[in-house]
């Protein structure tokens, strides 16, 4: 059995999506942190309101940067990107919450676990339900079967979890999330840290030798031989 992870469900898109996700989260964090600093607020309430912008930023980045379709999650109508038939939801994990246990506490977020694949037009631009004259009847049947199957299928949910405070972006993880309808608990599969301050530091210094690395080659001085004439003599 292939382990379920974001890399599996996103397939070849994972490589492209991952840096877009990281860049988008970091950019929103930086803006929110700066706004918090400028406001000189004693409370992190304002900083916490970034969650809605984060959702919109992510949808925009994936739509504009990757051409991915948008899915509106009812009832609140949050716009989410659909990547390789997976819903991508970015969520700033509240400071007091342990793991993803609270994710399914809102009706809209809960609906993310039962989102069906969007309109078949997504898969075959120009698809109208009419038989395609270029396909033979057998192929046409196959297309209809695939589309019907797809319409009935629930999209896997790739949950991007952001941990941050006004002082620091602490981490970005992603995982495939599913909901145990009976107990209401969220399970994470293939949880992976895709950004941390440490990894960023490593990236910044990749292939770069720090200014103080290695042993300095000091200036070379050597004794002057008797027969040598000093300069300017």
């Amino acid at each position: 059995m292939v382990p379920v992870s974001p890399a599996n469900v996103l397939g070849s898109h994972a490589e492209h999506v991952r840096p877009l996700v990281v860049e988008t989260v970091r950019a929103r964090h930086d803006r929110s942190a700066e706004a918090h600093e400028v406001s000189e607020s004693r409370y992190a309430t304002g900083f916490g309101t970034q969650w809605r912008d984060l959702l919109d930023d992510m949808e925009t980045a994936l739509r504009q940067g990757g051409g991915y379709e948008t899915y509106r999650l009812p009832p609140a109508g949050y716009k989410l990107a659909v990547v390789n038939d997976c819903l991508v939801y970015v969520w700033r994990v509240p400071g007091h919450v342990d793991g993803a246990s609270m994710f399914a506490s809102s009706p809209t977020r809960r609906n993310a676990f039962s989102a069906k694949l969007p309109d078949p037009a997504l898969f075959q631009p120009g698809y109208t339900g009419e038989p395609d004259p270029d396909l033979d009847p057998l192929q046409q049947l196959e297309v209809t079967r695939v589309v019907n199957e797809a319409v009935a299928r629930v999209m896997p949910l790739v949950l991007v979890m952001v941990r941050s405070s006004p002082r620091q972006l602490q981490s970005i993880h992603w995982a495939v999330a599913d909901l145990d309808q009976a107990s209401g608990t969220v399970q994470l599969h293939g949880l992976e840290c895709i950004w941390s301050p440490e990894s960023a530091a490593q990236d910044a210094s990749t292939d770069v030798e720090a200014f103080d690395s290695g042993v300095p080659n000091g200036p070379a001085v050597e004794p002057r031989r008797q027969e040598e004439t000093p300069p300017d003599a």
Partner: protein, 373 residues
């Protein structure tokens, strides 16, 4: 060639008090200790006008006055003799970091220090070979960034951070000295080419923190390359040297990929520790590269000022940033017959002052005569 003038290295042949009097040497010795003509006149027992006449070359002091001048200025009487290596400090094209706060007397004192440092290297070269001066010639129309890129190429520095900047500069024949606190604080840092030898002098205010120290050294390298011949002074020249330093330490092409997309002080701190520059200079670089706005940068500067720990990252903790050329040369010279007393005799100054120029603490006990003992 003048037969009556000893060669530059025939210093020992100038007998005590026997050479003709060189007025500029008196000025050099006086401004070096920061004494006014009036102060010196009182000390020596002549009028201030007489000191002025000696320094103008109108009159020469009598032998007894010369001895008293030498005593007051802590030099040998032969220090004032004609024919000694004389770097005319009053004619040097030096560039000072602190433009507004520096008095003429402070600048003269700093230049006198630089002149003596040069004389020390000059005498050391009797015994040791110092690295050849290796600075490229710069076309007048080059921008500071182009000049910085040229120096990187000329020194064959790899892309990335400039490692061990001071050791690198000294290996290319640049003399670097950090003068102790209280001596020439007012000038901050300065540089000059003295008889072709580039000399950079900084003070603890600039050099205590390694990042500020590296930027200062790069700034002075910029002056040495771009402004030595012109002798131009002023804020625009200082700005050019700043641009040179930024481009030399953090080239724009490298920064475009290394700088964060948004102002993030933690990220800048990490980046600065790799490139050997302060977060403040990286914020400035972000503004220059269009990554942030002036208003965001101002807030970042305020925040950095609040967070600044003056004791953090001392230069002394980074061996590649501590000058070693003069001390290494002096140690080798001592092994080959040029120890401190010999150098002092050649320079016609006290051994204590030679050690001071070398940055060595004088650890010998201080002896005092006890009256009636």
């Amino acid at each position: 060639m003048r037969d009556d003038t000893p060669g530059l290295f025939d210093l020992g042949h100038v007998r005590r008090g026997s050479g003709r009097f060189e007025a500029a040497r008196l000025t050099l010795a006086r401004v070096r200790i920061g004494a006014s003509k009036t102060d010196l006149a009182l000390e020596v027992g002549v009028s201030a006008a007489a000191i002025g006449q000696y320094e103008a070359g109108v009159n020469s002091p009598r032998a007894d006055v010369l001895d008293r001048l030498a005593t007051a200025l802590e030099v040998d009487p032969a220090f004032f003799a004609v024919g000694r290596p004389l770097a005319r400090f009053d004619a040097m094209n030096a560039h000072f970091r602190s433009l507004r706060s520096t008095r003429v007397s402070d600048r003269q004192k700093a230049l006198a220090t630089a002149a003596l440092l040069w004389e020390l290297t000059f005498v050391l070269e009797r015994y040791v070979k110092l690295p050849e001066v290796d600075l490229p010639a710069i076309e007048a129309d080059l921008t500071p960034s182009e000049a910085a890129a040229l120096l990187r190429r000329h020194w064959a520095l790899p892309d990335g951070p400039v490692r061990h900047l001071v050791a690198t500069a000294e290996s290319r024949g640049v003399v670097v000295a950090v003068r102790p606190r209280g001596e020439i604080d007012a000038v901050d840092a300065f540089s000059a080419r003295i008889v072709e030898r580039p000399v950079i002098v900084t003070t603890p205010r600039r050099s205590e923190n390694v990042f500020r120290h590296r930027f200062s050294i790069a700034h002075e390298l910029g002056h040495l390359l771009m402004h030595t011949d012109s002798g131009e002074q002023g804020a625009s020249v200082e700005k050019e040297a700043d641009e040179f330093a930024a481009a030399f330490l953090t080239p724009a092409s490298a920064m475009d990929s290394a700088l964060p997309q948004r102002l993030n002080l933690a990220a800048l701190d990490r980046l600065g520790r790799t490139w050997g520059v302060s977060s403040t200079s990286l914020v400035r670089r972000m503004v220059e590269r269009g990554r942030t706005t002036d208003s965001s940068a101002r807030r970042a500067y305020q925040r950095l000022t609040m967070l600044e720990d003056p004791a953090a990252d001392p230069t002394s903790a980074y061996p590649g940033e501590v000058p070693t050329l003069l001390t290494k040369a002096a140690a080798l010279a001592a092994e080959h017959g040029g120890d401190v007393p010999v150098l002092a005799e050649a320079l016609k100054i006290s051994a204590r002052r030679v050690r001071d120029l070398l940055g060595q603490a004088d650890e010998r006990p201080v002896l005092r005569l006890i009256n009636g003992g």
